[in-house]
Amino acid sequence: MARVRASHFTLDMALPRCVKLKFRGANIGRDLEGVSPSNELSRPRRSRRLLLAWVVAMALLLAFAGLGNYLRTRKPLLDVPLPGDIGNLETQLRAYIEEKVQRVRESPREMQRYATLGIVYAANGLWNEAQKAFKNAAQLNPKEPLAQMYVGIATQESGDLDQALQLFRQLAVQFRNFAPAHYRLGHALLRAGALDEAESAFQRLIACAPTEWRGLAGLGDVKLRRGDYAAAVHCLEQAVRHDPSAKNAHHLLGMAYRGMGRMEDAALELRLGLNAVVFPMPDAWSETASQHMRLLQDQIDIANAYSQAGSPNKAVELLDRALSFHPRNLALLNNLAIAYNRSGQPQKARPLLQRMLQIDERYLSAHITLSFNAQMLGFNDEALAHAEKAIALAPDTPQGYLAKANVLLAMERDVEALAALGTAFSCDPQNAEVQIEMGDVCLRNLNRPAEAMEHYKNASKLDPVFAPVHVRVADLQIKLGETNEARASLQTLRRISPNAPELAVLEGRLQKLRNR
């Protein structure tokens, strides 16, 4: 990158130098024009003029050579890709694209700016434009593997899988130690059914990035497709050891166990792999992508991810920025209000929620969020009224009952809260989290440990790999002095979530109990 800038700078400097030379040459010419050729010129004067002419000629020669070299080596001025229908894009996205396009135009030979523009397009689903931007980036710096890789990715996303495969093949040869290239190539080859070549790509990925689970998972996938289940299990068990949260690898491992007839292990691994999302191998560019997402739904999703990861202030910041572009969008208003609630600023959520009700008095989400909001502010009666309104609007959905349970708990009407949770569960009988909440209410508020255990065990049946269930079960078993049962629960917890932070604490407590 630094080298590109330096080169660029030199070329820019070359241009004025040429201009100066040109003008100087002209001046000299004019000088010469002022003197008529004459035989009367003295010899020394003549030789001086010859010398001067020679110098000028040499200077011109050098200048032309320099110009030629400049023209030959300078970076081309490329077309900046722009969506043809940019006027139809979401306002915020349009403004962001225009800003990034302007940045490219300000420095049209800078590879990094095209790369950023490409990522902006890609992050917002505009793959055709992304492909052009990445191509420009690759042309400006052919030695940057990411640029070439992203041309391949954009080509793949645009639907031309054969061409993408060719690009990944070239990339893997040209940049033999560039791990993401082998990842992309491996998967493109798997898709093309070229198992032998895919196997080599994943082996190369493992060699380049030994701690990366995706190489082992890819290799396991190849073995699985060949029906070599034992070899697949060997690779995939290593993959999940590298990253116990790698759902894709768990799923593949489950299929491999199934192939071997180990159905119980298979069921557990398939459960651990359920609802996977494919996260391609990260790289320096992909890690910047989420900051360029400007589609409203994406921003809402990112904000929710922030909130769930314990950073609601980031969610507020993100959604507040979007609000200036979408001031009457109910989904945005609701999510921003939720983010304010979660960040401990319920007073800021309130006007947003009231604005929502002004727009649509029957908007279900507004009543649910308002219920939580009012409860946080201590307005329990109002909170209950909004929960009831939500239930009236959608009596077959759990959210209204959950909101009601929440406010009843705040009012210490625990038995009624438990009943509301029960109704919520009947609306969503697959929801293990509601069973956990019911167990918590029974245990902590009503001091009914047996009933709590029943709810926790129900939750465990609904979602056998949901770690918080096993944490609670083990915790309660330890409290009740059921050491053998607690040990079994902790074994399960260790298997499904070996990095669970509660594990060590619970094992310590169990050990103490056994030592008594």
Binding site: N88, A122, W127, G159, M255, A267, V277, V278, L295, N329
Partner: protein, 580 residues
């Protein structure tokens, strides 16, 4: 007991927070990638279609006076059902030997609308002429918002009946045998109150009476609508996941007296649920009992394995047809249960959203594998959103071909049809054998590629000329009636398998041996998306001039042999009249 008070935490589930944030960049890997391939771009399959190639179908709706025009009732509210409506049924309601066409309309979800377009029944007069007999037949509906239908003789009286799914109460029309139908929903007890989509009649308990399964999509009402946007930034339809309100499907047991009992809970079907759209009922694990596969939209599919005691257990996960090969749930729309490798085990082909391939779950003795093959039936599907689907040997070369009705659920930045932002061309793939397929040129097999928002598609021989025609419902557009004009590569034969009650033997296997080859077909008209096809089974026979032997495995597992048969004709196979 050390315990501190609790307040709700985990169970606080805000609406709208649905998608996990993942920058999912890699086609075919991304089960729920939010970034479709180049939204709105003209797919490669369209760009490269060779318009000079011979068409396989001819659009004949206008000439045939099949003038149904679907209406979603879209009025700017972006109510979710408007995007999903549209099914079609092929049935011989008057017993004249020709398939008639029942078209399901959306209508209007706005309670203030008074003049709602209803469903239509068209009688096939032969010679590619149809007559609108809706009023006389009494099947137009009562202003319900229609989704799909299934057609079968549920009471064994010889007349094919119609069950229509709606947003709200569904309708069962009993065929009176005189060209009219009676709405018997209430008496039969099959109304339901959910949002029904695809449905199927099948005899799950082997008592000789057709039971009824209905897939339900969402718990939805206008008050639960949300605001969502397309990639173009305009207001658009939401993903079902935005609502967080999947619905439990319904199973009705036929009591044999014209009434049904809702056995959903006792059968265990409330134990798992998703956003159900596609249904296929068949014996998937070879135990002789009929199972149920449900394709769910953006949630894991269900495979309800029949336990034989009136109960079902969802085994989709362990049997390998719940999610894709990486554990990612896809947006299942339509489903076809088809024996692709002709070995007597039904595979599952599911159509999906743009950016996800249409998926083939290959059945290996009851256990499925998500088959990724570069030339498989899912090839070329990445740029499209598939709904209706059907396999048939359209050109009689002995290989099953594939037709997929496509149409977006979100508008793209660029439109393929200036008046319809959701329109896409449909796909036709020629079967090459060995599980391989290739795109047919011209795109969709028709001379003029007709981009529309296609939903349900039904397949059948409408003129009894021995080849399979197609009827497609297009959202807010005219119906497509595709007459098969493909250049034929071989001979054909059609069988109608009839039970002892002289009703279509739904869920029977028909195995044909001809010229050293073996062909398997399964009698199950209720497949695809919200649609019901020809109950007869059609075989393209390549160069065979005679069918040596036909084996029928009836739904109760008994086998009978028939034959030999001349090719080029339609035959009945009557239970009890073959050789044991």
């Amino acid at each position: 007991m050390e315990a501190s008070r609790t307040s709700l935490r985990g169970a606080i589930i805000p609406l709208n927070c649905v998608w996990l944030i993942a920058l999912v960049w890699s086609s075919g890997l991304s089960g729920c990638s939010k970034s479709p391939p180049a939204p709105g771009s003209v797919p490669a399959a369209v760009q490269h279609s060779d318009q000079s190639a011979d068409p396989w179908f001819e659009e004949t709706a206008v000439n045939a006076r099949l003038n149904f025009k679907h209406s979603s009732g879209a009025s700017g509210h972006f109510w979710m059902p408007e995007m999903m409506t549209g099914g079609v049924g092929l049935l011989d309601y008057d017993g004249d030997g020709y398939l008639d066409v029942f078209c399901v309309n959306g209508g209007s979800l706005d309670s203030t609308t008074t003049n709602r377009p209803g469903n239509k029944l068209y009688r096939n007069l032969g010679n590619w002429q149809f007559e609108d007999v809706t009023e006389r037949a009494g099947v137009g509906g009562h202003g319900e918002y229609g989704m799909g239908c299934t057609c079968a003789d549920y009471d064994g009286d010889g007349g094919t009946d119609i069950y229509v799914t709606n947003v709200g109460t569904n309708i069962l029309y009993h065929n009176n045998g005189d060209g009219t139908f009676t709405d018997v929903t209430r008496e039969a007890g099959v109304g339901g109150a959910s949002w029904g989509t695809s449905c199927a009649f099948f005899d799950y308990d082997g008592d000789g009476h057709l039971d009824l399964f209905v897939a339900n999509y969402l718990k939805w009402s206008p008050t639960r609508e949300l605001e969502c946007f397309s990639h173009g930034g305009l207001r658009d339809y939401c993903s079902p996941m935005n609502y967080k309100a999947p619905a439990v499907d319904s199973l009705y047991h036929n009591k044999g007296d014209g009434t049904f009992e809702n056995v959903t809970v006792s059968a265990g079907l409330d134990k798992a649920y998703g956003n159900g759209l596609g249904v296929a009922c068949a014996d998937f694990n070879g135990d002789g009992r009929l199972d149920i596969f449900v394709a769910n939209d953006a949630m894991p599919n269900q495979l309800w394995i029949n336990q034989g005691n009136g109960k079902f257990v969802d085994e989709a996960m362990i049997r390998g047809c719940a999610v894709n090969t990486y554990g990612v749930p896809r947006a299942g729309m339509g489903v076809a249960a088809v024996d692709l490798d002709q070995k007597g085990w039904l595979d599952l082909f599911v159509t999906h959203l743009v950016g996800e391939d249409n998926g083939l779950f290959m059945n290996g003795k009851g256990y499925f594998t998500d088959a990724l093959h570069p030339k498989g039936p899912g090839s070329g599907s990445l740029p499209f959103t598939g709904f209706g689907v059907g396999f048939a040997d359209f050109d009689h070369d002995g290989q099953l071909d594939l037709y997929v009705a496509n149409g977006r659920v979100k508008s793209g930045a660029r439109n393929l049809n200036p008046t319809d932002p959701y329109a896409e061309p449909n796909s036709l793939l020629r079967g090459l054998g060995g599980g391989q397929f290739e795109q047919v040129s011209p795109q969709g097999g028709v001379v003029e590629s007709r981009a529309a928002t296609s939903r349900g598609a039904a397949f059948g021989d409408l003129d009894n000329d021995g080849d399979m025609d197609v009827v497609i419902i297009n959202r807010d557009g005219p119906v497509h009636l595709l007459r098969n004009i493909a250049r034929k590569q071989g001979s054909w034969i059609i069988f109608r398998a009839l039970s002892r009650k002289h009703t279509d033997a739904i869920n029977a296997w028909v195995r044909v041996e001809a010229a050293g080859k073996v062909y398997w077909r399964y009698v199950q008209p209720n497949q695809g998306y919200c649609s019901s096809s020809d109950p007869r089974v059609h075989f393209g026979l390549d160069s065979a001039q005679k069918v040596e032997r036909v084996t029928v495995r009836w739904p109760d597992g008994a086998e009978e042999f028939f034959g030999p048969f001349e090719v080029g004709r339609i035959f009945e196979l009557n239970e009890g009249k073959g050789q044991k």
